[in-house]
Amino acid sequence: MLTIEHISKHFGGLRALHDVNVEADRACVTAVIGPNGAGKSTLMNVISGFVAADGGSVGVDGNETLGLLPHRMCASGVARTFQNLQMFSDMSTVEAVVTGRTRHRKASLLANLLMTPAVRREEAEAFGAARDLLATMGVPEPFWPRRAGDLPYGMQRRVEIARALATEPAYLLLDEPAAGLNDNESAALGDVLLKLARQGIGVVLIEHDIELVMNVSSRIFVMDAGTVIANGTPAEVRANPDVVAAYLGEEHE
């Protein structure tokens, strides 16, 4: 279980997060939704170690991880993608995914500098794992040796997820993975997310594409102005008047 408890974060006078509580289970998709500026991305940056919270707690399967640096968070089993694509553009696509194997590499720096047989074997294994993941994510083989930055946008999104999966995470945080995708691509992404959840990964999805969220999520947390205003199953959330108000700005009695 990924447990986020009482997380607060201020940027100067701006209250980005206030007493936020979110839980995400393994083997299912948990969504965090909310209007722009609700604090979703800040929350994701806090969980993954990119932003230091003012207070609260982040637990990964019972271990406190708040305050760990991003590369340590990765080692704790939390991987992520970025709202604005962060691709290793000048690498080949397969190599971009191979970077995700970093935490599973055992050879020492010296062994790498000498390129010992063990290092060569590790390299081959890492490339094998990366190719498998690209296949899983539906990136066609002709793209694999190509410069990652030259791939179509939707493909780069998939490569980014493959790269995160290469770290073998317990929890996968996806920051607006459907942004810029068309309806077909978005639906295909939904299938992939459900497949990952079936493999036991706890998928945490921040997304504006409500249809996608409703289709794949087991539980949805709704944020507005830095706080969680509702949570529940898709049906419960859809029926919640506070949620409707936050999204549409309607008055309600």
Binding site: N84, M115, P145, P152, G154, T167
Partner: protein, 341 residues
């Protein structure tokens, strides 16, 4: 929904054949080119008409080692340094000091000189690791200037600008290797070692991590790469190779003073790497040869030397912005393709 600009820029049409700078094919071509260079160098040394040509050759090779170091820092990790002359000087002065005052074997002195440069490189990497691009350029420039002032003024240690420092002849266990013919082989082995290590960095996850840090530090951290450690490593290895180059220079020049280790040399190194190729070890070597040899060639132009040198630089940068080696290779493949059609 608003689509990001990159989506329209990279429409999913059938791709033109674009080879990545790091796919298997191109990467091994870097190794091949390096090996060819390492084979050609002794052949040239054999036919070089006189010792002047040989000394230009050895000098180019010494500079190549430093350029390979900067290539890893700037080309792979994106860490610009305009203070490399400091590591070059550290390597040279520590080498000279250890042989002159402790009577150390020259080879051991050079190794310790390189290690000293490496330690300083590692040491400054931490305070520098938060700086990017032009801030990093300015900080390393300042480091280079400070070290130059130290070299020029710590006269008891370095001899300053006058009288400078001298070392004896290069020898291994008493076997004299100081003649240009023999010293060539010493430098050749050192360059081979530098190219091998740098090539291994490029071919393994070590180099991939450096490239990742350059292309996106947040993404690198998110896949478990310790960005600060990666930067410390590249400063250490860059300083080590530049220090090694400095130690070899000490026994090449035999007598030198602090002017050698000014900003000018840092800029020269930067030009070697940018001119040759940012992401190829062989490119750094080619760049080092060009920057070392061109001024010698243009000696005949006397007053116009600097002008001709400058124009040549501008033309290469204009028509081959990703470096001479990259440019020549792509020109070659374009000609081949035309022949096929």
């Amino acid at each position: 929904m608003e689509k990001p600009a990159s989506m329209t820029a990279a429409s999913p049409t059938v791709p033109a054949v674009v080879k990545t700078g790091r796919a298997g094919i191109v990467l091994s071509s870097d190794r091949r080119l390096t090996i060819i260079l390492m084979v050609v160098l002794p052949l040239y040394a054999l036919i070089a008409p006189n010792s002047f040509y040989k000394s230009v050759l050895v000098s180019s090779m010494i500079n190549s080692i430093a350029a390979v170091g900067l290539c890893l820092m700037l080309g792979f990790a994106g860490q610009i340094s305009i203070g490399q002359a400091a590591f070059y000087g550290l390597g040279a002065y520590v080498t000279a000091y250890l042989t002159n005052h402790f009577g150390l074997e020259p080879l051991l002195a050079i190794a310790l000189g390189s290690a000293a440069a490496m330690a300083v490189g590692w040491g400054i990497s931490r305070p520098l690791s938060r700086l990017h691009e032009h801030y990093l350029a300015m900080a390393t420039l300042a480091f280079g200037i400070v070290m130059y002032i130290v070299f020029a003024n710590a006269r008891p240690l370095t001899g300053g600008l006058d009288p400078g420092t001298s070392v004896g002849k290069f020898a291994i266990l008493g076997f004299d290797l100081s003649s240009m013919d023999r010293y060539f082989w010493v430098v050749w082995v050192a360059l081979g070692f530098a190219a091998l290590i740098a090539g291994n960095v490029a071919a393994t996850q070590v180099g991939r991590s450096l490239l990742a840090v350059k292309m996106s530090a947040p993404a690198a951290a998110s896949v478990g790469i310790d960005v600060v450690r990666a930067k410390a490593f590249v400063f250490a290895i860059g300083a080590f190779l530049t220090g090694l180059s400095g130690g070899l220079y000490a026994y090449f020049a035999r007598s030198f003073n602090a002017t050698t280790f000014g900003i000018g040399y840092s800029i020269d190194l930067l030009m070697m790497v940018v001119l040759g190729s940012l992401t190829r070890v062989s490119g750094a070597i080619v760049g080092a040869f060009i920057i070392t040899i061109l001024p010698v060639l243009f000696e005949h132009f006397e007053d116009y030397k600097t002008l001709v040198f400058g124009i040549t630089m501008v033309l290469i940068m204009k028509f081959m912005p990703s470096g001479l080696v990259e440019g020549v290779l792509s020109l070659g493949s374009r000609l081949l393709r035309r022949k096929d059609n």
